[in-house]
């Protein structure tokens, strides 16, 4: 124990909460030390207790929880023995926290400047905003939180955290929910501030790419216990524990040539991509599709002239940051949002009308799977009910008994125990719920499956399972799959072809391997550079992207690179032109 040098020292900490008259252990004998200027990452899947441990540094416990053993010392003080007044001084003064959702951490009705000033500290607000690399700080200080983007809000939250010049920074999933490019910027800022101010940082993250990029040391938690603790380089190069190995192996990589299958001991096997024959029919296609939001006075074009087609058995990935229009496209295809122009066709009919106007036989053949498994199932209805409903509604099962039998079959088709039928969604894990969501979509016997960020909210190991399921299903059922994601590594594994969207416009499309081997558009490059690999020594796959401007002319939009790989025309932007 290097208590003399460590500024944060957690010693065999155990935390439990009471439920139904007995203690449920959340954290069990966790010990860690952080020295000034170093970053320790707490890694684990949901429910591993990583956030609980991080919060104890501020003397915070979730309601009903208590420390059953061990101590937490920050800057020499035993946090849980401090009187209230000194604990308040510790929070913000010595330890500051940056949470996941900065938008919720800022008071919506207070100007940014006043909010930061409220924290205290002697540094002028404008200097702080400058320090977190926000443009035009004086003007920004007069704005309200909703006028900032997610990345800017997170920067403001960081400015507030460092306002009182703390010694320890606790970062709880600081970039989860941000786009890759924004995430990269925020992480770089945190790294720079840490070095500038000599902060000790505790980073909580489920994203091993972020951890590899940021941390000096890593502690892997599972069910509240430490599985492995090691310096970052060693942990990623030679993980000792099988759990750590499996966890690392489950993370999709940008250089995987197919879907990675992970074994019990963490061995990785890359499954070759399914071959989609040119003869297989086009299941669904869109031509010059445009979708507008807003009233006739102020139109926002979410999707602007997008064309694509998906063959049976093929996975087409739509990639882009939030706001790129990829989800809007999915909704239009599912008949939930009316397009303002262009055409969508299914092999058996026109998809122009809204879902209710489409014939039942067509409607059931285009099905949606949702991002958030928590809200995709009705909490008051059993899992079986969720699957039986579309069976009965679409008439794919004639009688009640048949629907019940088919529902059990579908649930086992998504690799779950059919006995799950009587369970409520709350009794299932996130991954299991997502599988039920897929089973519900399959109930209509679709030939087009729209998967809208279906693995975004899942832990990496669960994500690997769900991706594999999806890959199996499209092989077995010849499904045309529209896979929407912002995660390039995931896309690399599962998709046959990629369409990169930016502000509703396709900037690049082509076979996955071709696009990843030689990204033609700077925006694609930018996305690839920003993607973080779970390997601290990784070299970026491509060189940095140049500043660019759109140079597509109406009669000359594309640069063809062969084999269907084409790039929207662009031209480099002169440096002095950058405002």
């Amino acid at each position: 124990m290097t208590a003399t040098t460590a500024i944060v020292s957690v010693d065999s900490l155990s935390v439990a909460y009471r439920s139904g008259g007995r203690d449920v252990s959340v954290v069990h004998e966790v010990s860690l030390d952080v020295r000034p200027g170093r970053t320790l990452a707490l890694v684990g899947e949901s429910g591993s207790g990583k956030s609980t441990v991080a919060a104890t540094l501020l003397g915070h416990l979730r309601h009903g929880s208590r420390v059953t053993a061990g101590t937490v010392r920050v800057d020499g003080a035993d946090v849980f023995a401090l009187p209230a007044r000194e604990l308040r001084r510790l929070r913000g003064g010595t330890v500051a926290m940056v949470g996941q959702n900065a938008g919720q951490a800022l008071t919506p009705s207070m100007r940014i400047g006043r909010q930061i000033a409220e924290v205290g500290g002697d540094i002028p607000v404008v200097d702080l905003l400058e320090q977190v690399r926000l443009p035009r700080p004086a003007e920004l200080a007069r704005r309200y939180p909703h006028e900032l983007s997610g990345g800017q809000q997170q920067r403001v939250a960081i400015a507030m955290a460092v306002a009182a010049r703390p010694k320890v920074l606790v970062l709880d999933e600081p970039t989860t929910g941000l786009d890759v490019v924004t995430q990269r910027g925020v992480l770089d800022l945190i790294g720079a501030l840490r070095d500038e101010l000599g902060l000790a940082a505790v980073l909580v993250s489920h994203d091993l790419g972020v951890v590899a990029h940021m941390a000096d040391e890593v502690t892997v938690l599972r069910s509240g216990r430490i599985v492995e603790a090691a310096p970052t380089g060693r942990l990623f190069a030679a993980p000792q524990d099988p759990y750590t190995r499996r966890l690392l192996a489950s993370v999709p990589r940008l250089d995987d040539a197919g879907l990675a299958l992970v074994g019990e001991a963490g061995e990785r096997e890359v499954r070759p991509r399914a071959v989609v024959s040119d003869a297989s029919p086009v299941a669904v296609s869109a031509r010059d599709l445009t979708v507008d939001y807003g009233s006739s006075r102020a139109v926002t074009r979410a999707v602007d002239g997008v064309s694509f087609e998906v063959r049976r058995g093929e996975v087409l990935a739509l990639v882009g940051e939030s706001g790129s229009g990829k989800s809007t496209l999915a909704w239009a295809l599912a008949g939930l949002r009316a397009p303002s122009g262009g055409a969508m066709t299914h092999e058996s009919g026109d998809l122009a009308g809204p879902a209710r106007k489409r014939p039942l036989s067509l409607r059931r053949r285009v099905q949606l799977v949702f991002q958030n498994a928590d809200t995709s199932l009705n909490p008051r209805r059993s899992v079986g009910d969720a699957v039986r409903r579309p069976l009965r509604f679409f008439g794919t099962a004639g009688s009640r008994a048949e629907a019940a039998a088919r529902a059990r079959q579908l649930i086992s088709d998504v690799r779950l125990d059919p006995a799950f039928v009587d369970r409520l969604p709350a009794q299932l894990s996130g991954g299991q719920r997502q599988r039920i969501g897929i089973a519900r979509a399959l109930a209509g016997e679709p030939d087009v499956l729209i998967a809208d960020e279906i693995t975004t909210a899942l832990d990496v190991s669960v994500q690997a399972d769900v991706l594999r399921l999806l890959d199996d299903l499209r092989r077995e059922r010849e499904l045309a799959c529209l896979f929407i994601s912002h995660d390039l590594a995931v896309v690399r594994g599962i998709a046959d072809r990629v369409v990169v969207l930016r502000n509703g416009v396709v900037v690049e499309e082509g076979p996955t391997d071709a696009v990843f081997a030689d990204p033609g558009h700077p925006y694609t490059r930018q996305l690839m550079v920003a993607a973080l690999e779970p390997d601290p020594d990784t070299r970026p796959l491509v060189a940095d992207a140049p500043e660019w401007t759109d140079a597509a002319e109406p009669d000359d939009v594309w640069t063809e690179l062969g084999d269907g790989h084409r790039v929207r025309r662009w031209s480099p932007l002169a440096r002095e032109g950058v405002a």
């Binding site: 074994g263 008949g335 039942l360 009705n378 008051r380 690799r415 799950f420 399972d465």
Partner: protein, 299 residues
């Protein structure tokens, strides 16, 4: 980290999670206010049902010999100016109050729930128009509306029930619409829409089950308001017709004789007060019970 080769984990023995109803019942029992509130309401309902068994007097037959008597063993709460047993009239009086109130509340909450859900689900112009119409109704004082309706259409129970529905539906719509708005963006509602299900099916299958708690609390709360409103009407002479035994009416009839037989006015007031307090306690505890549940379940 199960790989797909391994058979899916068998569901463990059914988790020890009781149903929502059982859980709500447990939380209700653990709260003293709720137990008392529900017990008071239950006693009122029982009395109203069993009134003919509990007393041998006729609640409406006049008996001039027995007029204006103080409390005695024969007439525990005395008699009124027509010689009717006050206690008997109070016991029977619950029938009118409870019957009309429950019917009116049921109708109000049912209409309000359907309209509120539909507004949340349909949105757009339907929501806007409904909102403005309801605002207009809300801006008129309830008692005034009732008086106008009753004057125009007579004082029958069905008229009163309808009038109360008109007066209170807007408030229920507002509350339910707010609750439903939280459910409507959920993906399971979107999934139902993508299936092309009708508004009614989505409402019944996806939205209603998730706002039952709000609707129940709304029912309990509105019931206490309605009881008071109906009694006020009777007191003003626009509710129950004499000689119907009704609390509001009894207070109105006997207040002139309050110095002679105070119990004739006090007894119906006590009955009314306890019922309203009981309903309020129940509504309060009910909302707390479900609210607390939510925190515990981490929803």
């Amino acid at each position: 980290m199960t790989t797909l080769e391994t058979p899916a984990p068998a569901p463990a023995a059914p988790l020890a999670k009781p149903s929502t109803a059982a859980r709500a019942w447990r939380t209700l029992r653990s709260s003293r206010a709720a137990t008392i509130g529900l017990a008071i309401v239950a006693v009122h309902v029982l009395i109203a049902l069993l009134a003919p068994v509990l007393t041998s007097y006729d609640p409406i037959a006049n008996n001039a010999d027995q007029a204006l008597l103080g409390p005695s063993w024969e007439h525990l709460a005395g008699t009124d100016q027509y010689g009717r047993d006050v206690l008997t009239r109070v016991l029977y009086g619950g029938r009118y109050a409870l019957g009309v109130s429950v019917t009116a509340t049921l109708l109000t909450v049912a209409l309000g729930t359907v309209a509120g859900c539909a507004a949340a689900l349909r949105g757009g112009w339907f929501d806007d128009v409904l909102g403005r119409v309801l605002d207009a109704v809300l801006s008129v004082p309830p008692v005034l509306v009732l008086l106008v309706v009753v004057t125009a259409l007579g004082t029958g129970p069905s008229v009163i029930v309808l009038a109360i529905a008109v007066v209170y539906v807007p408030q229920v719509v507002r509350v339910v619409r707010g609750a439903a708005l939280a459910i409507v963006p959920a993906d399971y509602v979107t999934a139902a829409r993508a299936r092309g299900e009708g508004t009614w099916a989505i409402l019944r299958r996806e939205v209603l089950p998730n706002i039952t708690d709000v609707v129940c609390v709304e029912f309990a709360m509105r019931a206490s308001w309605v009881v008071l409103l109906i009694s006020s009407l009777s007191f003003l002479g626009f509710g129950a017709d004499p000689p119907t035994p009704d609390w509001g009416l009894m207070v109105a009839e006997n207040r002139t004789a309050i110095t002679v037989v105070p119990m004739a006015s006090l007894a119906p007031i006590i009955a009314l007060a306890t019922l309203v307090i009981g309903l309020n306690l129940a509504a309060d505890a009910l909302s707390k019970a479900w609210g607390v549940d939510r925190v515990r379940e981490g929803r």
